[in-house]
Subunit: 196 residues, 2 copies
């Protein structure tokens, strides 16, 4: 199953922290696919929270309850918005190619939702890279290149071509599921426990 | 537990058809509170589907899967938008006061999602009223009055004061839950199975 995730999505915190255990329990292997959800949402005029204080307040309370349900720590509201959202995901795409991407995404989300530090910005960025065993300075310098900018753009285009419009999304067998609260449904689809 | 529902909300079809059984199983009594979600969403600039074809296509597919999961019939996409959304809910508010409101909401949703007939419009409106045992002509004439227009507006204001911004919503113990996929969480909150 593909897990399309964009650092910067608030609800994706829940999924990033629990998908490994949920997928293992279902016997499903997961491929993490970081992308730039902001590009797609702006393009589709899909602005769920900006200038929507009532819905935004609900979102944080809902995440607080869901985090408690799953036993995940959270200090809310986490800082928002994230100026460096694209670069945070550019680093993730590079990390996925090099084998440290999943660990980096988890580290940067923990620093965002528990320590209140913005992904893609310092100190979150360097500390997350160091925590997963890669040199921050060298890695950041390599990631700031046309090559990895293009790699992120390609992943974002692929997401778009699959109908992905938000994060987290799950794609299995050509079927798209959106939202942390569809993780179980996606795993059920993958294992054949639900088909139409 | 209060069930804030606005005829015209697509996902509310799932809740309208399954809340009685789910609440009975949880031992929770439910008060249905129809309101005009469109007024709140327009006011809050919360436009989730209009001019968003990718997200809209996903929504219908997601509802199709969720309906199948719950064993509910659905012929999708159901007709949309609904010009008579406010009046459909005005009738519902009257029906709740007079004892036939819940049955009417279920009837009008079934005609919308199974038979492809718009709520608040003919033949759905008269047939739904007749099906619940009230005279369509007389009831429609009474509902088209300043009295019931004001009653709907009052319910909508009350919803707003509770932080309700979408349908379906559930309010229990001052706690708000939004979305058919939060029905179980709301019932758990009501019965004390989850508290922060």
């Amino acid at each position: 199953m593909e897990f399309w995730v964009s650092i910067g999505s608030t609800y994706s915190y829940l999924t990033v922290m629990r998908i490994d255990a949920a997928a293992a329990e279902a016997g499903v292997s997961v491929t993490w696919r970081p992308f730039n959800v902001r590009e797609i949402m702006v393009e589709q005029n899909n602005i769920p929270f900006k200038d929507k204080p009532v819905k935004t307040a609900y979102m944080w309370r809902d995440i607080e309850r869901r985090a408690a349900l799953h036993g995940l720590p959270a200090s809310l509201p986490a800082p928002y918005p994230l100026p460096e959202l694209p670069f945070a995901n550019q680093v993730a795409v590079m990390g996925l190619k090099e084998g440290w991407g999943v660990a980096y995404i988890k580290e940067t989300y923990r620093r965002w939702f528990v320590d209140g530090q913005r992904p893609g910005d310092e100190p979150n960025l360097s500390d997350s890279l160091a925590a997963v065993g890669v040199g921050p300075e060298e890695t950041i310098a390599r990631a700031r290149s046309a090559e990895w900018e293009a790699a992120l753009a390609l992943e974002t285009d692929t997401a778009k071509s699959l109908g992905v419009f938000g994060s987290p999304s799950f794609v299995t067998d050509g079927e798209l599921f959106w939202g942390d609260d569809r993780l179980e449904a996606a795993l059920d689809w993958e294992t054949g426990r639900q088909r139409l």
